[in-house]
């Protein structure tokens, strides 16, 4: 059973190595002549005005929070979907209840304007 997952582990390691390999090659083969102008952050030819780690819009947080809620719903739906055929109409009813609750929350977020980007 666990043996089935070994190739997946190998793929993860090799995936990271395929990421690291070219970077190492690039550092070895590439030129390395830094100067202060070249190393300054890009800002359309200006001197950088201020640090880039600035305040950003709260809506990004809101999207992230909504994402967590909905992604968890999806995670809950996965096991239900797998055994759905055995559960039949009973499973359908239960999940309809669950999804209706979810949809109510979704409609609330929608009406509150959480999904607006003007």
């Amino acid at each position: 059973m666990l043996d089935n997952y070994l190739p997946a582990l190998l793929f993860i390691c090799v995936g990271l190595l395929v990421g690291i390999g070219p970077v190492v090659v690039g550092f070895l083969l590439g030129a390395h002549r830094p100067d202060s102008e070249k190393n300054s952050p890009y800002e359309c030819g200006f001197e950088a005005f201020e640090d880039a780690r600035m305040k950003f819009d709260v809506r990004y947080y809101l999207i992230a929070i909504l994402f967590i809620v909905f992604d968890l719903e999806i995670a809950f739906l996965f096991p239900w979907a797998v055994v759905f055929k055995e559960l039949g109409w009973f499973g359908f009813g239960i999940m309809a209840l669950f999804l209706t609750t979810l949809t109510a929350g979704f409609v609330y977020a929608w009406k509150k304007g959480a999904l607006e980007w003007e």
């Binding site: 190595l17 070219p22 970077v23 003007e118």
Partner: protein
């Protein structure tokens, strides 16, 4: 500086040792297949960039790259060699370790997800029962590379691009997830090979899930476009607005790895769409009278053709559609796709319960 190098070297050593340890437990033939698969995937990425430039070139009445090698065939190789010799610039304000780690984090999951992808009947590396779960987990990891890159660069454009990109990716992840659940309900399994087999109800290409689950198919593929930050959803790296977004400070091979990851993700999305909606390795004539004439075609070739077909759409969309505005993208994801997938999830569940023929007939 030295601490960064040391931790990087340690990480590298750990990866190599664990890869060797795992490889030691596998059969030699499996290892050979593994090496060939990874090499083929990287080659596909290289020639996808060539195809993109060529196809978009012809769509714009140009001929695209044609100087390096016959008809420009060696162009991707030349590009790769050129990038190798380019200087890697690390901005002075950047967090060096995270700056270098970000492209690796983007690349790792893009390749790792292929472990559970079936190329043909039984031709899959990790035939695990949690295939879709694994895919969902790994494709979600991709956003870390982008957000870390944007933050570590300490540049305003990179930061803006990363914020936009992260919000966009997580928004479309929802629609994608619901589409996945729809397929799960239809197929009743998390194993990708079983999902393909569930689509062989004997009417050729009509028995694949694209027909009964058409809204989910469309949502999944379009969300895939948005997930990979491709046109028309490429505000995160809109060249004319925020000069390439999260990877504006990246150069040389660091940039190339981001590029590789993006193209690998495009191929992955196409492959997953093929498996879940277009019958994976199944022949389009499966179960019909034409089946005998095409029996000689290996399944992996059908798979490849379908993936290439979908990839062509990626390129076609880029040549055709103007870029969406950011608020339009978020509206499409949350206010159109999420409701569509929710409704069709119910419709699919009812289809399954009433054994709607031929896709969900008893015994399929």
């Amino acid at each position: 500086m030295w601490l960064t190098l040391a931790s990087f070297a340690g990480f590298l050593l750990f990866l190599v040792i664990s890869a060797i340890t795992v490889a030691f437990h596998l059969k030699l033939t499996l290892l050979a297949a593994f090496v060939v698969t990874v090499a083929c995937l990287l080659l596909m990425v290289a020639y996808l960039t060539y195809a993109e430039r060529k196809i978009i070139g012809y769509m714009q009445i140009r001929i695209g790259p044609n100087r390096v090698g016959p008809k420009g065939w060696l162009q991707p190789i030349a590009d790769a060699v050129k990038l190798m010799f380019k200087e890697i610039i690390i901005p002075s304000g950047a967090n060096r370790f995270l700056f270098i780690l970000a492209p690796v984090l983007a690349m790792g999951p893009a390749l790792a997800a292929w472990a559970v992808v079936p190329f043909d009947d039984g031709w899959v590396f990790a035939d695990v029962n949690a295939g879709i779960l694994y895919i969902l987990a790994l494709t979600s990891m991709g956003v870390y590379g982008i957000i870390i890159a944007g933050w570590a660069s300490n540049s305003k454009y990179a930061f803006l691009g990363a914020m936009r990109s992260a919000a966009q990716i997580v928004s479309y992840e929802i629609a994608m997830g619901f589409a996945l659940v729809g397929v799960l309900v239809a197929a009743g399994s998390l194993n990708l090979s079983d999902i393909v087999k569930a689509q062989s109800s004997g009417y050729g290409f009509l028995s694949w899930y694209w027909l009964p689950l058409f809204p989910l198919f469309a949502v999944y593929f379009i969300s895939g476009l948005a997930e990979t930050n491709r046109a028309p959803f490429d505000v995160a790296e809109g060249e004319s607005e925020i000069v390439a977004g999260f990877h504006v400070e990246y150069s040389g091979m660091l940039f190339a790895v981001f590029f590789l990851a993006e193209y690998l993700n495009m191929i992955l999305v196409s492959a997953l769409t093929t498996i879940m909606f277009l019958g994976g390795w199944l022949s389009p004539f499966h179960g019909t009278f034409l089946d005998a004439y095409f029996a000689w075609v290996p399944g992996v070739l059908w798979m490849f053709l379908k993936v290439a077909f979908l990839l062509f759409f990626f390129l076609w969309f880029r040549a055709t559609f103007p870029r969406y505005r950011y608020d339009q993208i978020m509206r499409l994801g949350w206010k159109v796709f999420v409701p569509i997938t929710l409704v069709w999830l119910f419709v699919t569940a009812i289809f399954v319960l009433v054994h709607f023929p031929p896709w969900f007939a008893k015994g399929v």
